[in-house]
């Protein structure tokens, strides 16, 4: 009985959590004239109230066809996004993995202070680091190029915080067993640390992808040239131009994020319980 009540409560809440996704997907198949009549009151300021039906009158794939075949700028922005997100993630791993390993497994003076600085940096909202970033990027003449987004983001300390907790959770005995076999710190890191810390690395990748696929502030600040904008910043502009494909574009933008999420979500959970900053 108690179990049933719990199930019902959770089911209702799940529906609430999922409703936006459902509405987007069903909306993406709505015929254009149906969109105009249901969403018209909001978007074209016609009389009455907007409606967003749970199911379209019939499934219309024309908006998809139109977007996929007839919107070169959409694809340009899509590739712009990937062209930033992928180098950022590679950079974050190359810089972050060894640093996270060092924080998790080595003893050295000043470690605690440095780690505190890293956590503080991770917490700084973009608007705080925007000015320092801007000053450097301006000096390097990187403003208005995609490197103005990639380089600062690759140095983010957030993935280090995530991976640290996973590296920390590897049992000491396991590492000592290898160390006795004569492997140095670098081989231990590569052959023991990376494979055993893989869930943490994947976690950092998934969270990083979702973060930078979503990027608004950075390109808005550092990239004037709209043809270099990522999809996340460009998408809201479509709405006014072409309602029919706006919802479809929203759904297509969503697909890579959902796929990455489904691939990595089990790793988000594992190893998560090792919290805090314990030495």
């Amino acid at each position: 009985m108690k179990r049933k009540v719990t199930l019902i409560i959770l089911a209702i809440l799940s529906v609430v959590a999922w409703l936006p996704l459902w509405l987007l997907i069903s909306g993406s198949f709505m015929p254009v004239d149906e969109i105009n009549s249901t969403l018209g009151p909001v978007l074209n300021e016609t009389e009455g109230f907007a409606r967003w039906p749970l199911f379209p009158q019939y499934l219309d794939v024309r908006p998809y066809v139109q977007l996929l075949l007839d919107s070169p700028e959409f694809f340009k922005m899509f590739w712009n996004s990937l062209g930033m997100v992928i180098p950022i993630l590679i950079g974050q791993l190359l810089l972050g993995m060894p640093a996270a390993w060092a924080f998790a497994r080595f003893k050295f003076s000043g470690k605690k202070i440095l780690f505190t600085i890293y956590i503080a940096l991770m917490l700084m909202p973009f608007q705080v680091t925007m000015v320092p970033n801007y000053l450097v990027l301006d000096k390097m003449q990187l403003l208005n190029t995609r490197w103005s987004i990639i380089l600062p983001a690759a140095c983010s300390t957030f993935p280090i915080f995530i991976m640290y907790r996973f590296f920390k959770a590897i049992p000491k005995e396991m590492i000592e067993a290898i160390a006795i076999d004569g492997a140095g710190p670098f081989r231990t890191y590569i052959y023991i640390g990376l494979p055993l810390g893989a869930p943490g690395i994947i976690s950092a990748l998934v969270l990083g992808f979702l973060e930078y696929w979503n990027m608004i502030e950075q390109p808005l600040t550092f990239i004037k040239d709209q043809s270099l904008w990522p999809l996340s910043l460009y998408l809201p502009n479509i709405t006014t131009d072409n309602l029919g494909i706006a919802i479809v574009a929203s759904v297509i933008m969503l697909i890579p994020a959902i796929l990455i999420f489904l691939w990595g979500q089990t790793y988000l959970e594992s190893g998560i319980s090792v919290g805090g900053l314990k030495e």
Binding site: T6, L39, M124, V128, V131, E269
Partner: protein
Amino acid sequence: MHKEPKHISQNKPKSDLKIALCFILPSLIGVGIFILIPFLDVIRRSFCGAMNGQFVGANNYITVFNNEAFKLASKNTIKFIVVCIPLLIVISLALALLVNSLKKKNEIFKSMFLLPMAIPVASVVLLWQVIFNKNGLLSAGIEKLGMAPIDWMNSDWAFWILVASYLWRNVGYNMVFWLAGLTTLSESVDEAAMVDGANGWQRLTRITLPQLIPNLFTITVLSLLNSFKVFREAYLIAGQYPHDSMYMLQHLFNNWFMSLDIDKLSAAATVVASVILVLILFLQKTWESED
């Protein structure tokens, strides 16, 4: 075998400074170039005039603290954090306890509640507009109840819409953290308490919750981190100058940046960075004294 030297080195704390540096240096160089070193320049600029770069003492700070927009934005940002974080922590804990009580078949609910974090802000902006417009879904709903339609994003409700959006997006991730903590708890203590006649509430507050406290640091830090990201929703829905109730520090920084008020911006950035630093030190201290 020469065991002795090893023994000695274990007695005094072993330092791996050189090796550790090899591992950290790439990251440290990056952080240094893009944030730490230029931030020193920002601190310097916060004491200088915008035009001539002459030393002006604390003038910029005085200007910032007397600035009405800064007061409003700080108030809203603090209010947002103070409202959201406890709310998020409690709701996600309640959800985690519910999901955990199911034992079997709780995997599906993890996925269900985690999903919103994967949905790009840009994808839902259109939907949010349709819901919260004056002629939108929510207004249609309250009109049926006999109330007048409201232009939600241009009313005091705007703040609460941001709160709801934050909760929707983040509750699942926090819930997963709590669940991970819950699964490591020993059931024997709980069962012993049950045998001793402790009721559900007593077992929750005396046994379960105290054991979850170590998870609280990470959860709070991540909740705080994510609370700054609601700016995306706010910006995409309402633009640079939203309703007063949701005008955040992020909006202000952005607008000062656009108008090239680098002097004020430097002072404000230094202030915010200091507050965050103090906050993190405070959190760390609190959690370290716990155990």
